[in-house]
């Protein structure tokens, strides 16, 4: 008999911890996070840090608009710098939210209920951060209206529909709209719970308006279920399409290192990878601050770590394919690109990227690292950094030495690249902590259904 057969069958950890035995305990615990005057000190600390970082945007953006994109380290030949890197990084992060809320809903993965609300919020805030970069990169966002949106303007000119940047506009704005609607629809029954529970008159009015007159009748629930199913169906293709379109920004160009057919699936996998790392980065501290062990337990961490491992392996496959094709294509330029990437001036970045995205996450093969909060958080930080570096490598190493050696140059970010990037991290943090303070961060009504599910009994 093999070793595995001898080990007795261990049922999976239920989605809901033993502390939650009734609807009341669930509702009180989750809504209590919002309906309290005792905000944890940690909330204030994180919010203050976020607010401080947000000033990077407050200072950086006006200066950028006043002075122009020249304040960034952009120049020939690297015309796309941190702005595009950050854009792709943020958009990628958003993808986990959609995957959790839509795809896992369709696959009836009950463990998603504990994390989908916060993950969807993360998606929306990440997309908001992402959208700023291409807009600011236009230099004159007030004119970008007619550069980017097709409408019958008085100049009778239309955007270049063959440009992937226009596809981006459609992909990202669709993504934001659908994510926002999906998130809000899921929140309606919870807003009603909050309306009914708060003692505060202002709270009652605000939650009352947001709950759109929800009374919890059977018809309401039936329509709600249908609406979320339809929205899940709408969002599911977006998980694949949005980052595919983002990858076209690169793949449609002829630059070696960009002009690659593997980019769409490789970007989508990277997005899910980065997104789950960010969900965990947010949820692990949240669980500690608010004592959510009953809702986010070993099973959730384990499952998310497995998704990360799987998507991380696809990303690793992508890196491998890039190298294989550089050799197999026998194209001088492709070959040089890979040589330069691995042994050129940015080789340290490349190998650090491999360490972050491929080597360190291999720890997740071991159950201990998947379920230990500290180690999982540790691995996630490597992935957060690694996914940013991946985009840095793609953008910078491909551009800085392209076809014409006479124009080769190095890319040097300026203080304003850093300021604005850090500013969006601040914006994200501020929005996320406001969300935690004002909205039930775990879906009340979906968690309640877990009580009656088979697993829990």
């Amino acid at each position: 008999m093999s070793e595995a057969a001898k080990t007795p069958y261990k049922p999976p950890v239920p989605e809901l911890g033993p502390g939650q035995t009734s609807y009341t305990s669930i509702t009180e615990k989750i809504s209590g996070i919002v309906l309290t005057r005792n905000t944890p000190v940690a909330w204030f600390i994180f919010f203050a840090i976020g607010f401080l970082l947000l000033h990077g945007l407050m200072v950086g953006v006006p200066y950028l608009l006043f002075e122009g994109v020249g304040i960034w380290g952009l120049n020939n030949p690297v015309g796309w710098g941190w702005a595009i890197i950050n854009f792709v990084w943020w958009i990628g992060i958003g993808h986990a939210g959609t995957l959790i809320s839509a795809v896992l809903l369709l696959f009836r993965q009950k463990w998603r209920t504990s994390i989908n609300r916060a993950a969807e919020a993360m998606t929306i805030f990440a997309v908001l951060c992402a959208m700023q970069f291409p807009l600011l990169h236009t230099g004159r966002p007030w004119l970008a209206c007619y550069w980017l949106l097709p409408y019958p303007n008085s100049m009778d000119i239309w955007p270049q529909f063959r440009s992937p940047l226009i596809w981006d506009v459609f992909a990202v704005s669709t993504y934001l709209t659908v994510s926002l609607v999906f998130w809000f629809v899921g929140l309606v029954p919870d807003f009603a719970s909050m309306r009914d529970r708060t003692k505060n008159r202002i709270g009652q009015v605000i939650y009352g308006m947001l709950s759109l007159g929800w009374r919890g009748s059977a018809i309401h629930w039936e329509r709600y279920e249908m609406a979320s199913l339809l929205l899940a169906g709408l969002s599911t293709p977006l998980v694949l399409s949005v980052h595919s379109v983002v990858s076209f920004d690169f793949a449609v160009a002829l630059i070696p290192g960009w002009h690659t057919t593997i980019f769409p699936p490789y970007f989508v996998a990277g997005a899910i990878y980065a997104g789950f790392a960010m969900v965990l980065t947010l949820m692990i501290p949240m669980r500690m601050i608010y004592g959510l062990e009953d809702f986010i337990n070993e099973r959730h961490l384990n499952n998310m770590a497995k998704v990360m491992l799987a998507s991380g392996m696809i990303v690793a496959y992508g890196y491998f394919m890039e190298q294989l094709i550089a050799w197999y294509s026998a194209s001088t330029y492709e070959g040089f690109m890979m040589q330069n990437r691995m042994h050129g001036p940015y080789s340290a970045y490349y190998f650090f990227l491999i360490l972050c995205n491929i080597v360190v996450p291999q720890l997740l093969w071991i159950r201990y690292f998947r379920t230990n909060m500290f180690w999982l958080f540790f691995v996630c930080q490597f992935i957060n950094v690694g996914m940013w570096l991946e985009r840095f490598i793609i953008v910078v190493t491909s551009l800085h030495r392209d076809f014409m050696p006479s124009s080769w140059d190095m890319f040097h970010p300026t203080i304003w690249d850093i300021t604005i990037y850090v500013g969006t991290i601040g914006l994200f943090t501020v929005l996320f902590f406001l969300f935690i303070r004002g909205v039930p961060m775990i879906s009340l009504h979906e968690i309640r259904t877990l009580l009656v599910s088979k697993d829990h009994k």
């Binding site: 303007n153 008085s154 100049m155 009778d156 009352g208 007159g213």
Partner: protein, 218 residues
């Protein structure tokens, strides 16, 4: 527990859906029309000038040709605003004491150009050329309107890019025989459609190039 909202909130919530639609529609309406309304494009608005020069009086009343003052219209990008000396060819002899003409005389005395206010002001990135339009059969009136009927100068068209493109996409609609370019009372014949096409061919107007960006922007 008392109700949070009174019964009338039902009505308000339904109305707010309509209001949201109306707000979106009005924003769209503003975005689409802002550059097209006369208030913004200044069509039909007389621009204040240092001297209240009347084109109607000089063109219709006196019968002066456009080119008497706008001398370079046939050979250069710029039609040319006449120097004070052009005014003084007549006004050194007639209306020499008229108070309304004092700025003209002052300009002549002090050798200082009159600072006219521009009426047809294109953006700086538009390189409009008068000579090519005039020599290819586009009448003054096509762009500037019935200047011979204007006591004070004003724009007759928006000069929006869509308006430029209207003609650049199909110049046959507006082209006229070269000898009619300066005729302010030209009337398009009934067969303009066929005549326009033959004129476009005769004058060798390269219609395929007229909508290239670099035709107007460099």
């Amino acid at each position: 527990m008392a109700q949070v909202f009174p019964r009338s909130a039902n009505w308000a919530s339904k109305a707010s859906i309509l209001a949201a639609l109306l707000i979106v529609a009005s924003i769209l309406g503003v975005v689409l029309n802002i550059n097209r309304i006369d208030y913004v494009s200044m069509v039909g608005v007389a621009i204040d000038q240092p001297v209240h020069f009347s084109h109607k009086h000089h063109v219709t009343g006196m019968g002066i040709d456009c080119r008497y003052c706008h001398t370079t219209v046939e050979v250069s990008a710029f039609a040319g605003v006449p120097p004070t000396e052009t005014c003084m060819t007549c006004h050194s002899q007639i209306w020499t004491e008229a108070p309304i003409l004092e700025p003209v005389r002052a300009s002549f005395r002090d050798n200082k150009a009159i600072e006219w206010n521009r009426v047809h002001d294109l953006p700086d990135f538009v390189y409009f050329n008068h000579s090519i339009h005039v020599s290819q059969g586009i009448g003054c009136q096509s762009c500037h309107g019935q200047v011979d009927q204007m006591p004070l100068m004003m724009k007759a068209h928006t000069l929006n890019m869509e308006w430029c493109l209207d003609c650049h996409r199909d110049p046959a609609q507006f082209i006229r025989p070269r000898d009619q370019v300066f005729n302010m009372n030209y009337e398009y014949p009934a067969n303009q459609e066929t005549l326009g096409k033959s004129l476009v061919a005769d004058y060798d107007v390269q219609t395929s190039q007229l909508t290239n960006c670099s035709i107007c922007h460099r």
